[in-house]
């Protein structure tokens, strides 16, 4: 889970990049299970949560994920606040 501080404009650019450039590639990574992007407009905060089959798949994707996330943040001008890893204990979609 990536946490970012974003202006509404930065968030829109980020959305575009994630949707058009990262997702098509991400979908072919082994163990990738999905991505959720959440925006808190009032407080200028964006959460990007990517879902992985298991810990190993997450680990294998970390390096590339980190590089692309950094590039994306640089391009949009957003500030990266945190990267955290969680175990999904309940999933009902």
């Amino acid at each position: 889970m990536h946490t970012l501080e974003t202006t509404p404009e930065q968030s829109d650019t980020g959305l575009e990049i994630v949707r058009d450039q990262l997702l098509p590639w991400l979908r072919d990574v082994s163990g990738y299970r999905g991505l959720i992007r959440l925006l808190d407009r009032e407080n200028g905060k964006t959460l990007v949560i990517s879902l992985w089959a298991d810990e190993e798949a997450l680990r294998a994707s970390t390096e590339a994920g980190e590089r692309l996330a950094e590039l994306t943040a640089q391009t949009t001008g957003a500030t990266r606040v945190a990267i955290e890893q969680y175990e999904a204990t309940l999933f009902d979609v």
Binding site: I17, W25, L71, T75, G77
Partner: protein, 512 residues
């Protein structure tokens, strides 16, 4: 004025009625359709008693009725004549020994055919001679009849083997035919299990004694005929189970068997199993020799089934290897060049954003983009070379292998090969060299490797040798993959890899 003599229906009728020879016509089911005067005189049966009925109900003695059926089936299947010597039983129970000629005759309407048989009664001449001599003649004729029956049984099994029947069917047929031909109560095919046991893989017994079933594993030490046949590689016999005190002997005794003969079945030069027969009485001396013919057929059936199995698993491995390689290629593209291009796209976007806001920051961003692009290109080149190296098409086998060698962390020397060979052959040879050299780099801990090519009449032979630690597993997946490639091109591949002495892979590929 002369009258022309015609070989017509009348002549046939007169000849049939007047000849001293027995003339009998049968249909494919063994029913008697014609029974001439000589037949009536010899057997004491009247025509009305036998016409339209199966010969096995009247003139064919019960002990020969099975052989009679075999002869009919053989003649109708092959359309060939099959001279026979056999007995007929007269109405009062005497046996007459008759030598038969026969030929199939198509029916007038063209539907089906009849077997015309003519016979000479040998009984009188045999009896007129001295007693010893008559016994001799009859014994010889009986021997001829028996041999013919054995040949037919062998042919039936051989047909089954040739039709690629499953080994299980062949084992069952061999058991049945051997017990019939050797006139014993029970027969079984055993497979040795590499220890001192053997598994029953086919069995037949005439009296349903049923002491062994298919799948049973029995103890086969040197107190058993099959154990001795395995240990000596020669046929073996147990003359008398009543003289031995083992569990197997006890089982056999209780089933009423006195003696056993077993003959070994060799596959690829090693004892694979045995055919064994068992009887209530002592088995005749020639039993061993007669079993051997069947052993050879079983050997053939097992070897050809193994060859088919090897071929199937080789095909399956080739398909699996192909799938794995495509999967690997997809991964390499995705994690390598694709990922670099995604980040390149992002970098260019970043550069565009900085164009107005911070032109000074452009320089390092664009330098990074150029580097990323170079890396992506190099990765794509590497992948493309792995698919089919351009050097192979442009310059041929030896230069392509040399170029490959230069990219490996081992010193590779490659001989010249002056001529160009057909594309597929160069490709197959290249991949074998490539995989073999990759194995050298990965596993051999070698300092140097050498590739030599020898163009021989009709074949290309080449060797990949190294000075590494040797001890490569000839059945490991790496070498199996190499062998599959060579064999799929009709060639062969051998690996010699003594521990500590390096490895030599020798492949031979046919040129057409």
């Amino acid at each position: 004025m002369s009258t022309e003599f015609v070989l017509g229906d009348d002549f046939a009728r007169v000849l049939t009625e007047t000849t001293q020879a027995l003339v009998c016509v049968l249909d494919s089911g063994g029913r008697i359709l014609l029974f001439n005067d000589a037949c009536e005189r010899t057997t004491g049966y009247g025509r009305d008693e036998v016409i339209g009925r199966d010969a096995r109900e009247s003139v064919i003695p019960p002990e020969e009725s099975e052989a009679f059926g075999d002869v009919l089936a053989y003649i109708w299947r092959t359309r060939l004549s099959s001279p026979q010597v056999g007995h007929w039983v007269t109405k009062n129970g005497d046996r007459r020994l008759i030598a038969w000629s026969n030929r199939l005759m198509p029916a007038v309407d063209g539907e089906g055919s009849f077997l015309v048989t003519t016979g000479i009664d040998l009984t009188e001449s045999a009896e007129e001679s001295e007693g010893a001599l008559s016994g001799d003649v009859e014994a010889k004729l009986a021997e001829v009849g028996r041999l013919a029956q054995e040949q037919r049984a062998l042919r039936r099994v051989a047909t089954l083997v040739a039709s690629e029947a499953t080994p299980e069917r062949v084992f069952a047929a061999v058991s049945e035919e051997t017990s019939r031909v050797l006139e014993v109560n029970a027969s079984a095919v055993f497979r040795y299990e590499g220890d001192d046991t053997a598994t029953v893989v086919g069995r037949h017994d005439r009296e349903a004694v049923g002491i062994f079933s298919v799948g049973d594993r029995i103890f086969a030490d040197d107190n058993t005929a099959i154990g001795r046949a395995r240990d000596t590689g020669l046929p073996a016999r147990i003359e008398d189970y009543f003289a031995i005190d083992t569990d197997v002997a006890k089982t056999m005794r209780e089933a009423g068997y006195r003696s056993t003969v077993a003959a070994p079945i060799f596959v690829s030069g090693i004892p694979w199993g045995a055919i064994a027969i068992a009887a209530r009485e002592a088995l005749p001396d020639e039993s061993e020799a007669r079993l051997m013919g069947f052993c050879e057929l079983v050997s053939l059936a097992v070897a050809s089934a193994q060859a088919r199995e090897d071929l199937q698993s080789s095909r399956a491995r080739l398909v699996k290897t192909g799938d794995e390689q495509r999967r690997k290629l997809e991964r390499n593209l995705h994690d390598g060049a694709q990922q670099r291009l995604v980040s390149l796209a992002l970098t260019l976007r970043l550069a565009r954003a900085k164009l107005e806001s911070d032109p000074g920051a452009l320089e390092p961003i664009l330098a990074g983009a150029a580097q990323e692009l170079d890396l992506a290109l190099e990765e794509l080149r590497e992948l493309a070379r792995g698919l089919h190296p351009a050097a192979l098409t442009e310059q041929g086998l030896a230069p392509a292998v040399r170029a490959l060698g230069e990219r490996l962390p081992v010193d590779v020397r490659v001989d010249d090969l002056d001529e160009r060979l057909p594309d597929y052959l160069e490709a197959t040879a290249y991949y074998i060299c490539s995989e073999a050299l990759t194995n050298v780099a990965k596993h051999a801990r070698a300092e140097s490797a050498r590739v030599t090519f020898h163009r021989e009449p009709g074949v290309l032979r080449f060797e990949i040798s190294d000075d590494g630690r040797g001890g490569a597993d000839g059945r490991g997946s790496g070498i199996l993959g190499l062998r599959d490639r060579a064999e799929s091109a009709g060639g062969t591949l051998f690996v010699i890899s003594p521990p500590g002495k390096g490895t030599v892979v020798t492949a031979t590929l046919p040129l057409d």
